[in-house]
Point group: C2
Chain length 583, copies 2
Amino acid sequence: MEKAPFVSEAEKKAFWHSTSHILADAVKRLWPDVKLGIGPAIDEGFYYDFSKKEPFIEADLAKIESMMKKITKEDKLFKEVFMTRKEAEKFLKDEPYKLDLLKDFPGNKVSFHQHGNFIDMCNTPVVKSTGQIKAFKLLNLAAAYWRGDSTKPQLQRIYGISFPNKEQLDEYLKLQAELEKRDHRKIGKQLKLFHLAEEVGPGLPLWLPNGETVRQVLLNYMRDLEIRHGYKYVSTPHITKSQLYLASGHLPYYKDDMYPPMKLDNEEYYLRPMNCPHHHMIYKQLVTSYRDLPLRLAEAGSIYRKEASGAAYGLMRVRGMTQNDSHNYCTKAQTKEEIVRVIDLFKEVYSVMGIKNFWFRLSLPDFKAKAKFGGDAKEWEWAAQQIRDAAKDAGLELREVVGEAAFYGPKIDVQIKNVLGREESIATAQVDIMVAKRMNLNFVNEKNEVEHPVIIHRAILGSYERFMAFLIENYAGAFPLWLAPVQVKLLTFTDRNQKFAEKIERQLKDAGIRVESDYSNSTVEYKVRNAELEKVPYVLVIGDKEEKNNTVAVRKRGTAKVQFGVTVQNFIELVMGEVGKKK
Amino acid sequence: MEKAPFVSEAEKKAFWHSTSHILADAVKRLWPDVKLGIGPAIDEGFYYDFSKKEPFIEADLAKIESMMKKITKEDKLFKEVFMTRKEAEKFLKDEPYKLDLLKDFPGNKVSFHQHGNFIDMCNTPVVKSTGQIKAFKLLNLAAAYWRGDSTKPQLQRIYGISFPNKEQLDEYLKLQAELEKRDHRKIGKQLKLFHLAEEVGPGLPLWLPNGETVRQVLLNYMRDLEIRHGYKYVSTPHITKSQLYLASGHLPYYKDDMYPPMKLDNEEYYLRPMNCPHHHMIYKQLVTSYRDLPLRLAEAGSIYRKEASGAAYGLMRVRGMTQNDSHNYCTKAQTKEEIVRVIDLFKEVYSVMGIKNFWFRLSLPDFKAKAKFGGDAKEWEWAAQQIRDAAKDAGLELREVVGEAAFYGPKIDVQIKNVLGREESIATAQVDIMVAKRMNLNFVNEKNEVEHPVIIHRAILGSYERFMAFLIENYAGAFPLWLAPVQVKLLTFTDRNQKFAEKIERQLKDAGIRVESDYSNSTVEYKVRNAELEKVPYVLVIGDKEEKNNTVAVRKRGTAKVQFGVTVQNFIELVMGEVGKKK
């Protein structure tokens, strides 16, 4: 959406909420017996809850939309109407849910909104007249308990969306369709990438072989790159005694996001919500002098955080995740240069991942909300300045926002625009000026004095879960060759060609190519179609001609054209070349 | 030890316990005021606890040994002596700890052992005469609370060992010295391989960069190998809701070994003690028909088990570990063949790891201890027979033992002899005939009937922790080139050569070789010695001559000879060749 359809959040909410009045009016005109629940605006659009003896069916939605169209054409003004509690009770005597709401309403002056003959108890802003709602659509039907309470009656909820004009509505619906097509949860199921099992728990994804392969390619890519850039990989446990999190500050500052403790040997053990304290223990083993700095410890570290179970969403919002994490310990004098290196690494990775539109956001604390941030303002300002200077050196624009820092220092969020133009936080880096002191991490400087290191926490890919969700939606599941779980699929025309195909399969595997085969008795057309649905980058078809000439027929994903007579050696070179270029 | 020094466990215990009598006699002759505690035989040797006003010092041990020698030369007979409780109380009136023990002693007939003039309350078998104890050594001094209770007085414990002849003692002491030299905990510290932090918790190792590198080489080796053998890698969370462990049988059968639960959202979440149930959830996503079998799911799966905190021992006995785990799901008809494949894989891996002396132990349940084993005996017998048949096909000897099966089927333990000739369990495989039914894992067979798969659980390297402990001790830290954390160390004679050395360092790194450098101002001799202590396989020394001729001087670990004038290209080829051969 190039131009926003609404000038403000308030205007948008009033617009959507007004549409719910029109929806309720339409339903009452069609089925006067229906009882009304509530009809708020929500994040995207609005809904209205109804109680109807014969439940709505999908076909009713079109009927209701027609009636709504009529109401908007009438273009009646919205008017505010007030009643005393007594008057309101009398007026609502046949609306048991409204009466239930009225009970919670304080005072004696009850506010209503009226358009035409329809009057609804309501104290939320509405638009001027029904005629303003020029474009709307009812999206779907769902069941909902009254007041979200499963002991109360079940109502039917109708969801909808509306805009000031039809172009905006069309654009919205097109975007929704594209979103649905690219939904990583749907594609994750189709391509067997991951699975969320009720029995395991919300937000705890299981990586199926296909998804694990992509994840591993990403892990290996990051590991190789980071080691080339002077990082050292470590591996640390997923739990620790509470004393470590007391020392690090996690228990005082971060407990709400942590899983509850396990009690053992008169100790409390916690699942880790971050990898930092474990890395800090390793720092203590490896560093004594300034000569040991900078030390860059990296880990594909699995962590667990107590997201509200309802907030879990595919791979985007999870409770168990693996971070592409690292902690770079350095002297004050090295800090700026170390941040520049981190920024350079961000740039290198994002260029490989095809992320062009990204920018950095510097989050500083709101020092009024003092409780959440330790240390003094001067240290925070010093850290923020290092980031600003580093960004300048790296030629990077930095947008500053207030109130979202980590509890141990200013935070850099890397923001991207995804394929649908939506802004997302994809990765973070923090400059930690607090924890080294708190945890007694030291080194001896050139002057033989004991100092604390600065710690840069950074996760270039963020979590592998979130990054995978981004990649799946970005590529709509059609991963580039170097990431594709299956890179090549081998198909045979008939049983006759299977032996030859198996030989080729072995050659490709030996070359390190991820191959699958389909030697079943189905038709080649059917098998090709399957491979396309599986989004395999290359399909090789083997028939008698190929076997005779010792070649393969190559079909590239998304093209109908087949290249015949390619030697296996040439095909391997083609694939390896593309993989090497991370295409 | 070729021939065992003792014919039975009972004889050994009597021998060691008798030596503790002689130790106590010697101490009383030297310091009559000392009060006696207890003096049992233990797993290796014996100890005696004493209360002495001026604590023993190390030098006392030699004095005591001399006196013990005298006592053994006297060759007095051990005699059993009985006293009534009253007589015993009177006899022990100056031995408060013995009197304390006497309180717990039931009945009126108290048993003593006497040799010469020394009489000790004791009802444990002893040898015939003190002269039999021909060879002994006092090993060390330690503090010990009376009855192991920290509220009671602290005594001094003297540990010792003894044998029927001097050769046996010498052999034992030599083995102990070798054990100490190879102790993976000591080497792990020296080579910075891993760290056990008090703050994190017992049995929860942190892998330092050097150790993590070796671990990763092993992980990659196993992953590549397993994928070549048709395994599919997955990745699953470390926790799950209790309902999964109720279904799998872990909660009824394995709870004692699990960490306590975390309570969240009215659910109990458990850290996983095994990876199986998570893999079973993936099976359900991937398998519908017999055509989908066999399915081999592999994972480097981290698990947590509640070993008693005192039992934690380096990397050998840990609470947090990562298994080289897999679950192979197959039909009944495929079971034998699948076990043969597993055995073949065992053989391939062990040959690469230089493990020559290994054999398989088949553990079957003691069906009298019924509670621990589900299912009927016929199914267990069928599974055991598959293993026997497979072992026969694979030409493998199988030793059968009773009572140690897994709760879901017979267990194969892979036993090895380590470098010191000691037997260890290094890996396991289980044939699971229970859990598929219990967890409702199904497939449709050729006749369109619903069946449960057989599940082979196997961990070829066991846990990476335990396997690393084995490797460290096997190689005494001097890992072969392909496993070495640092493969090549570059040293310079003077600052002049640093630039040239850095160019070579880059070339080696680009070739994928793990290189470190030491360009400090220390002498080359000092730097070489450091590299030897770090057990780096190749040291390259760079001086003016090398720089002028564009070559390196190569020094192989453990040899004093230096090969001069080697081109970098030739050196890279040498290294890559050795790594490729896993030497």
